[in-house]
């Protein structure tokens, strides 16, 4: 953890070297995600609710996905840019250092400009938390925190899967974006609006609905079972196959070298 902090400071120092670029990048990220937010707002100028969710209720899910994605991307950036890390030899360097490989990839790249998107999510939270009509009990606050933390880890896991694929192929990696960028984009609405099959897929295969749709129902008081409140925790099971897959890819890399 200590070493991670040192890496963290090095990245911060490096990125602050180009102050203007750094702040414009943050601003750019903020504006891009603001456009997504605007499109959502326009939608609700036309309709009062989507599948039984009001504007404020939808915004909670939107902000959770946005914050989870941007934090996952900020810390897991090394896995997001993994093909490059493999290509330019940085990964071979990691292999000759006496530390855990996943830790080194994780610590090796961080991108603070993603804070722009995170800031957007925070702004939405500031607006929506008092205005959503949610009765904020201690359990509900905890559920919201779990949604964000587990959402971050889930997106992180998806980046690890993405990285693992690049051990095998350099072609056709784009399809993974369906789950990462796609998860973020479609996550602005509760996942139930996409129909039963999509919801089932996002529950049992790529458990994005476990950090967004189900706990949202609990926050809104539509479900009272604690199972819904703790649904985000179950999503973490997804990380196990992610890391197993990465290990498998790594052993293959070491025998093929490409």
């Amino acid at each position: 953890m200590n070493l991670y902090m040192k890496f963290f400071l090095m990245h911060l120092k490096s990125q602050m070297q180009y102050k203007v670029s750094f702040f414009f990048n943050i601003l750019g990220q903020f504006l891009v995600s603001f456009a997504v937010f605007m499109s959502l707002s326009f939608l609700f100028m036309l309709f009062d609710d989507v599948e039984g969710f009001t504007y404020q209720e939808v915004l909670i899910g939107f902000a959770v996905m946005m914050l989870g994605f941007s934090l996952g991307e900020m810390f897991g950036r090394g896995f997001d840019t993994f093909p490059r890390i493999l290509g330019n030899g940085t990964f071979d360097r990691a292999l000759v250092r006496p530390r855990n490989i996943i830790f080194q990839v994780l610590a090796g790249t961080m991108d603070f400009t993603r804070l722009g998107r995170a800031a957007q999510a925070v702004v939405v939270f500031v607006y929506v938390i008092p205005n959503s009509g949610v009765d904020w009990t201690l359990t509900r606050v905890m559920t919201l925190v779990l949604m964000i933390v587990c959402g971050t880890l889930l997106f992180f896991g998806l980046f690890v899967v993405y990285a693992s694929f690049s051990f095998f192929t350099v072609e056709g990696l784009e399809f993974m974006n369906i789950f990462t960028d796609g998860g973020r984009e479609h996550g602005r609405l509760p996942f139930s609006v996409y129909g039963e099959n999509v919801l089932r897929f996002l529950t049992y295969v790529i458990p994005l609905a476990l950090v967004q749709y189900y706990p949202l129902l609990f926050l809104l008081g539509r479900e009272t079972s604690l199972l819904y409140a703790f649904a985000p925790v179950f999503a973490l099971l997804f990380l196990i196959p992610c890391f197993v897959f990465f290990r498998f890819g790594l052993s293959r890399y070491k025998s093929t070298g490409s």
Partner: protein, 265 residues
């Protein structure tokens, strides 16, 4: 002590084709061609020895180095370095080796090099006293006082290479692998690097294995050379021995060119 015995390595290279549908199909089934990068490579390097590992491009030098570093697993054969198999005991093994990849930097581009050194110290958990002693000594030898506070991006290639070497030696490795350490350097930097490697080997007894295309490196540094071509060890002997066989008056470049010709590589 480095002992390689009958090391084999074959790469499977996918045949690539254009087009989206082919690329998609390639996810599931592919055609491959096989390239034998190393064939039955064996050699032994004793502690404190300095060895030049030479051969034309694509001969298998980097593959051998990667195997010795634990980055690649061979298909067959054994490799024993200081009593360990690199790819089986990666963490313990890499603690005792230093690696310089001449064409790839391990320094942080935008921060002062001394910050990079400190991070490397923390990665290796080198204790403060050892770190300080090594840093002072290396900085002194390589004359780096003035550039310690300079970010790597502002350094000249020669300065950066010297910093790369320092970065690889801060944790007191017993073995140093240098993959083309003098590539692209000017005359002064080349001399500085060579002189330094020589002193390192003489004073600390560090085992050095270096690959290079610069025959003056070999002449200046190593008594022993190992020649590899098309994945096979073709010659393992001393430079003097080689000189005796070569036509009179030939310089190192010509000698090696003659060798390459003789073995048709």
């Amino acid at each position: 002590m480095i002992e390689l015995n009958g090391v084999n390595k074959t790469f499977r290279i996918a045949k690539r084709q254009g087009g989206f549908s082919r690329a998609f199909r390639a996810l599931f089934s592919r055609e491959y061609e096989y390239i034998r990068a190393l064939k039955n490579v064996s050699f032994t390097v004793n502690d404190g020895e300095m060895v030049g590992y030479i051969g034309p491009n694509g001969a298998g030098k980097s593959t051998t180095i990667k195997i010795m570093c634990g980055v690649l697993n061979p298909d067959g054969g054994t490799c024993n370095i200081n009593g360990r198999t690199p790819w089986k005991n990666r963490v313990a093994h890499v603690r005792e080796i230093g690696v310089v990849f001449g064409q790839r930097s391990q320094l942080w581009w935008d921060v002062p090099v001394v910050d990079s050194f400190e991070l490397i110290r923390d990665i290796y958990k080198t204790d403060a006293a050892t770190y300080k002693r090594n840093l002072d000594e290396l900085v002194e030898l390589l004359e780096l006082h003035e550039i310690l506070k300079t970010p790597a991006r502002s350094l000249s290639l020669g300065q950066r290479m010297r910093c790369e070497i320092v970065a690889s030696l801060l944790h007191d490795p017993k073995i140093l692998f240098l993959d083309e350490p003098t590539i692209g350097l000017d005359a002064v930097s080349k001399l500085a690097v060579r002189q330094f490697i020589k002193r390192l080997n003489a004073e600390r007894g560090t085992t050095v294995l270096l690959t290079t295309h610069d025959m003056q490196d070999i002449e200046a540094l190593t008594e022993r050379i190992i020649l590899i071509g098309k994945g096979q060890i073709l010659l393992d002997g001393s430079l003097t021995q080689l000189k005796a066989e070569a036509p009179k008056g030939a310089n190192a470049e010509e000698m090696v060119a003659a060798l390459y010709k003789e073995y048709a590589i």
